[in-house]
Structures are given as structure tokens and as C-alpha cells.
């Protein structure tokens, strides 16, 4: 029982990060139909910028804020100079552009920072909290709380403000949104900025637990993409559930079966789910028009 609880907690912690990355994928996909494979690099930037500013003597909260700002600027630049310039290109070309951006950002990070692994001090110390025989790191709770706060804020913003409704309208139908006077370039740019900021927050929250380095982005992008597809691409709710599920699956597979095959188990489950429901858990089936 204690074991089960332990695996569930560690799974939920990693799953929360997957969920945030998947949410970033979903936001950008809804706004622009682009699958942004450089999503993981935002997480890397969030962690690395915070670490190096903190090493340079900047107080941690300020360093974290600056890291979010950096990632947001990178997200905006990606939209403005790459995606916007290539408007009208087909889906695979756009994916290749984001992959190019991901390689570029990794290259910049290895030059500006370094190639070593780095950590941050946890927010509330290292002493694990005992709960039903399981030990939880306080930082795990921070990660989880951070994810919940982001979700609530995002939902509030999208649902309760005029600009949020404009973002929704853009996602629903870009042409119609433009016809009613919404500046879709701004809403799409906003989606890139928010995705980047969410990634950066996930980055510095998880760094005390999993460490960070210039090349963590690829694997995170992979997992986030898989989580978004598991939930059904385009569904924010699905992205969050997909991320948490993927985290728990991995933790259980690593704990009960074999840590070497944990990724394999996760992907086998995703394959089985997709074969049973080709549109993901919460995605809507599309009808093809001819």
C-alpha cells in the first residue's frame, strides 16, 4: 500500500510537468495548428536561466521571473520570425521549423550556459513529508500546486476576459475570428508567449527534483506530445489528464516492472489507447469533408 502511494506521488509529480508541456502543445496547436516540437526547450530555458542567474548572485524569485521573461520573449520571437514568416506552409514543414528551432535553442544553451547538469535548492527544504508510509518531497507538492495555479489562472483568463474569448474564437475558426475584428496575429502570438511561460515555470519548479541541463528538452517534448495525443490533441482537459496518466504509468512501470522498460510500457499503453480511440481520450472525432 505504502509502495502504491509512493509510486502514485512520484508519478503525479512528473506527470504534472508532462501535463504543463502538453498544455503548451495544446495552446499553440489550437491557436495555429502548429505542433511545436521546441516546447521542451522552454522548460530547459526556465531551469537553466534560473540556475545561471542564481549562480550570478540574482535572488531566486527574481531569477525565476527573469527566466519566465526570457522564455516568453523566445516564444514570441519563434512566432514572429519563424511561424509567421512561414505562414501558409504545410503542417510537416511547420513541424520541421519548430524542430530546427529546438536544435538552435539547444545549441545556444550549450554555448551560453554549459553541458553539465544543474540543480536548484528546493523551496521548502529536503525533509520528506511522511504520509501513509510514503515519503513525499515538499518540492513535489510545490510542483503540483504550481500546476494547479497555472491551470486555474489560465482557465480564468480564457473564460472570463474579452481577450481570452478572442483566443478561443481564434482556436475555433481563424477566418471567422478575423471577420468579427479579432487581431488573430496577436492572439496566436499570445498563445506562443503563454506556452513558453508555462514551460519555463514547469522548468524551474521541477529542477530541484530532476535536475536540468541543456539537452533535457527533446525528451520532454516527446513526452508532452505523447501526453497531448493521449488526451486528444486540442483538448486542454485532455492534455492535463494525458500528462498525469503518462507520469503515473511511467512510475508504476518503473516500480513494479522494470525501470529500463518504463518508457516502453508508457508507449504501449498509448498505442493501445489510440487503437481503441483513434482521436485520443477526450478528442472529438473529425469528419472528413471531400
Amino acid at each position: 500500500m505504502a509502495e502504491l502511494l509512493q509510486f502514485t506521488f512520484s508519478g503525479l509529480t512528473v506527470g504534472a510537468v508532462y501535463a504543463l508541456v502538453a498544455l503548451g502543445f495544446t495552446l499553440i496547436y489550437n491557436a495555429s495548428d502548429v505542433i511545436n516540437f521546441s516546447q521542451g526547450e522552454f522548460v530547459m530555458l526556465g531551469g537553466m536561466v534560473t540556475v545561471f542567474l542564481a549562480l550570478g548572485g540574482v535572488p531566486l524569485p527574481l531569477a525565476a521571473l527573469l527566466a519566465i521573461a526570457t522564455a516568453t520573449l523566445v516564444g514570441l520571437a519563434l512566432h514572429r520570425f519563424a511561424i509567421e514568416t512561414a505562414r501558409g506552409a504545410n503542417a510537416v514543414t511547420l513541424i520541421m521549423i519548430t524542430i530546427g528551432a529546438s536544435i538552435f535553442l539547444r545549441g545556444v544553451a550549450q554555448v551560453v550556459f554549459d553541458k553539465r547538469y544543474h540543480s536548484l535548492p528546493p523551496l521548502f527544504g529536503d525533509d520528506p513529508i511522511r504520509f501513509g508510509g510514503a515519503a513525499i518531497l515538499p518540492q513535489s507538492l510545490v510542483v503540483f500546486a504550481g500546476a494547479v495555479v497555472i491551470l486555474v489562472l489560465l482557465w480564468g483568463f480564457i473564460d472570463r476576459t474579452l481577450f481570452g474569448k478572442a483566443v478561443l474564437a481564434t482556436a475555433a475558426n481563424k477566418l471567422a475570428a478575423r471577420l468579427v475584428g479579432i487581431d488573430t496575429r496577436r492572439t496566436v502570438g499570445f498563445s506562443f508567449a503563454v506556452s513558453a511561460a508555462i514551460g519555463a515555470i514547469a522548468g524551474f519548479l521541477i529542477t530541484p527534483i530532476t535536475l536540468t541541463s541543456y539537452n533535457i528538452g527533446t525528451l520532454l517534448a516527446l513526452k508532452g506530445f505523447a501526453a497531448a495525443m493521449l488526451g486528444g490533441i486540442g483538448s486542454a482537459f485532455g492534455a492535463v489528464i494525458g500528462g498525469l496518466l503518462l507520469g503515473i504509468l511511467e512510475a508504476f512501470a518503473a516500480g513494479y516492472l522494470s525501470s529500463q522498460y518504463k518508457d516502453a510500457v508508457a508507449f504501449i499503453v498509448i498505442l493501445v489507447v489510440l487503437l481503441a480511440r483513434p482521436q485520443g481520450l477526450f478528442g472529438r472525432a473529425k469528419v472528413e469533408r471531400v
Binding site: I35, A82, T85, A86, A89, N90, A91, V92, T93, M96, I97, I99, G100, A101, S102, I103, F104, L105, R106, G107, V108, Q110, V111, T218, L222, F225, A226, M229, I233, Q260, Y261, D263, A264, F267, I268, I270, L271, L274, L275, P278, Q279, G280, E288, V290
Partner: protein, 343 residues
């Protein structure tokens, strides 16, 4: 996308008659060229044969051989992506099957290298057939994530079954021996991989022009429309998936035999992405494009090593730049510009 006329160039029989004797001479020369789509293949073969004139050292043969091997895999993937319109982010998995077949066959099972290569291709075909059936029902990004997962699974197996594969450090691959002739050295492999590429390209050109190729292109344009026309969509997709897996497997075998060593890196996600990048960069739906894409992505990192740490930055910028400014890929974009200029 509009449907192109099926025969873009006039056949030899429609050529203006240059007197009776000259006309029949033309027919005997041009007839087979046209029927078997040999013109582009012959151009590729001539280029491969002439390229060594420009090579100052053995190192150039080595890089060129790598280009041909990756181009072979890229052509196979291009058939699937560019012509049938199905994405695969796991094709390096099939390269891995081919590569480990020629390593495990001779080392553990005592099977000769050439037979292991064929066995690897057969295993890849069977795996693609079994996996492709359910997976190819998925569309677009869902297909992408399913193939990605499949490729990842294979890479994990290659990494973890250390007893057979040597684990993350990989294993050495015995030299290929053909009829008592040991195939070794960069120059020899230049010619072997060149011949493989020419054969692969010839097959691809003919496949595209065949009825199956037309069915493939119809599926790319619209699956529903294709099935209304009586095309068995599921079967055609599966067939092309199997064929592209065989291309990747043979390329993987060549890579392993050429390097004399194999690690799970050959099968991992980044290699899959690299193959996709070769196809897209060179131009989806252009066989010559795959050769160009493979050249760029194999040669560029070699050139960029002089930049040391800045290598990835420049590589990323080049990929982004090409995709933004030549969005249909290098070869189709240049062809389009050339056509516009001629008019």
C-alpha cells in the same frame, strides 16, 4: 492538390519520326528509357560514377558513402510521406532492425552477412506488416505519435537486451564477405552503397509510375475520394509502409556493415527525426530531393565541426531557414523557380 497528368513527357512512340531508320533507332534507345523511367536513374548513376574525380582523400569517399546510405532510407520514407502522405516518426526503428540483423546474425547465429541483410529486410517487412495494419488507421498527428512510440520501443529493446545487442555500447559487426570477397574500406563501400542507391532509386521511380503509385498519390490527395474510386486504401497504405520499411532496413544493414560497429543510436528518435528532415528538406514527393536532403544533413555536420560549439546553432538555423524560404523543400522549390524563369 491537383491531379497531374499521368504521363508528363511524351513517350518515344510519339516522338517526331526522323525518317524510318532513325525513328526506329530512337525507339530502341528511348523506349526502354521511358518505360522503366531510367533517365533520372542514369543521371544519378553518372553523377555517382564521376563524383570521385573531385575527391582528394579517402575521407570524402566515407562521407559520400554515408550520404548514399541515408539517401536510400530517405527515399523509402519519401515514398511513404511524400507520395502516400503518411508520416512516420519511427523509421529509424527499421534501420535498427536491419543494422542489428547483420550484427546478431553472424555473431550469435552463425548466419553469413549477406543472408542476415536479407533476413533483416524480411523481418522488417513482417514487423511493418503486423504493426502497420492497426497503426495506419490513425491519421495525421496521431499516426505520428504512434510511429514515434513504435520506434522508441525498438530503440529501448536494442538498448536493454544487452545479451544480444551489447547494450548502450553497441556491438561490432563482422565484415561482409561476398563470394569470398571481403567488402571493406571507404572506397569499396562508396561503390557498394552507390549501387544500392541507384537500384533503390530505380525501383522508387517505377513504383511511383505504376498503378499502385497512382493509388498512393490519390490517397495523399483524399482518402475518401480514393476509396470512392475503388482504391483499397488500407491495403495500399500497408504495402507502401512495408516497402519503406524494407528500404530503411537495407540502409541500416549497409550502415552497420560499413561502420563495422552498431549502437542503439542508429535506431533512436533523433535518427528518425533526421530521416524525416532529409525528406522534408530535400522536398516531399521528390526522389532526387531525398538525395539532396541526405547530402545536406550528412555533409553539413561534417563541415560544421570546424565551428565546434556553434555546430548545433548553425544546423538549427539552416533547417529553419530552408523550411521558411524554400517551404516545399530544396528540389521542388528550385524546380518551380526554374520553370517560372523559363516562362
Amino acid at each position: 492538390m491537383s491531379v497531374r497528368p499521368l504521363n508528363e513527357r511524351p513517350l518515344a512512340k510519339d516522338m517526331p519520326a526522323l525518317g524510318d531508320r532513325a525513328g526506329s533507332a530512337w525507339r530502341t534507345i528511348l523506349g526502354p528509357l521511358e518505360r522503366y523511367r531510367l533517365t533520372p536513374v542514369i543521371i544519378i548513376a553518372v553523377l555517382i560514377a564521376l563524383a570521385p574525380l573531385l575527391f582528394p582523400s579517402a575521407y570524402y569517399y566515407r562521407v559520400a558513402a554515408l550520404v548514399y546510405i541515408f539517401a536510400l532510407a530517405a527515399i523509402g520514407l519519401n515514398l511513404l510521406m511524400g507520395y502516400a502522405g503518411q508520416v512516420s516518426l519511427g523509421h529509424a526503428g527499421f534501420m535498427g532492425i536491419g543494422a542489428y540483423a547483420v550484427a546478431i546474425g553472424p555473431v550469435h547465429l552463425g548466419v553469413p552477412g549477406w543472408l542476415s541483410l536479407l533476413a533483416g529486410a524480411a523481418i522488417s517487412a513482417i514487423v511493418a506488416f503486423v504493426v502497420g495494419r492497426p497503426i495506419l488507421r490513425l491519421k495525421g498527428h496521431y499516426l505520428a505519435v504512434a510511429t514515434l512510440g513504435f520506434g522508441l520501443l525498438l530503440a529501448i529493446v536494442f538498448t536493454n537486451e544487452a545479451e544480444w545487442t551489447g547494450g548502450p555500447d553497441g556491438m561490432s559487426v563482422p565484415r561482409l564477405v561476398l563470394f569470398g570477397w571481403s567488402v571493406r574500406g571507404s572506397q569499396t563501400w562508396y561503390w557498394v552503397s552507390g549501387v544500392c542507391l541507384v537500384l533503390g532509386a530505380a525501383l522508387a521511380f517505377n513504383l511511383i509510375a505504376s498503378p499502385a503509385g497512382r493509388a498512393m498519390r490519390a490517397i495523399h490527395d483524399s482518402e475518401t475520394a480514393a476509396s470512392v474510386l475503388g482504391i483499397d486504401v488500407a491495403r495500399t497504405k500497408l504495402m507502401i509502409f512495408v516497402i519503406s520499411a524494407i528500404y530503411a532496413s537495407v540502409a541500416g544493414s549497409c550502415l552497420a556493415l560499413f561502420n563495422g560497429h552498431i549502437t542503439p543510436d542508429a535506431a533512436d528518435f533523433l535518427t528518425s527525426i533526421e530521416l524525416v528532415a532529409m525528406v522534408v528538406l530535400g522536398g516531399m514527393g521528390s526522389i532526387v530531393g531525398s538525395l539532396v536532403g541526405a547530402s545536406v544533413l550528412v555533409v553539413l555536420p561534417q563541415v560544421l565541426t570546424v565551428l565546434h560549439d556553434y555546430e548545433h546553432m548553425v544546423l538549427g538555423l539552416v533547417i529553419m531557414g530552408v523550411m521558411i524560404y524554400l517551404r516545399s523543400g530544396i528540389v521542388p522549390s528550385i524546380a518551380m523557380a526554374f520553370r517560372g524563369w523559363r516562362r
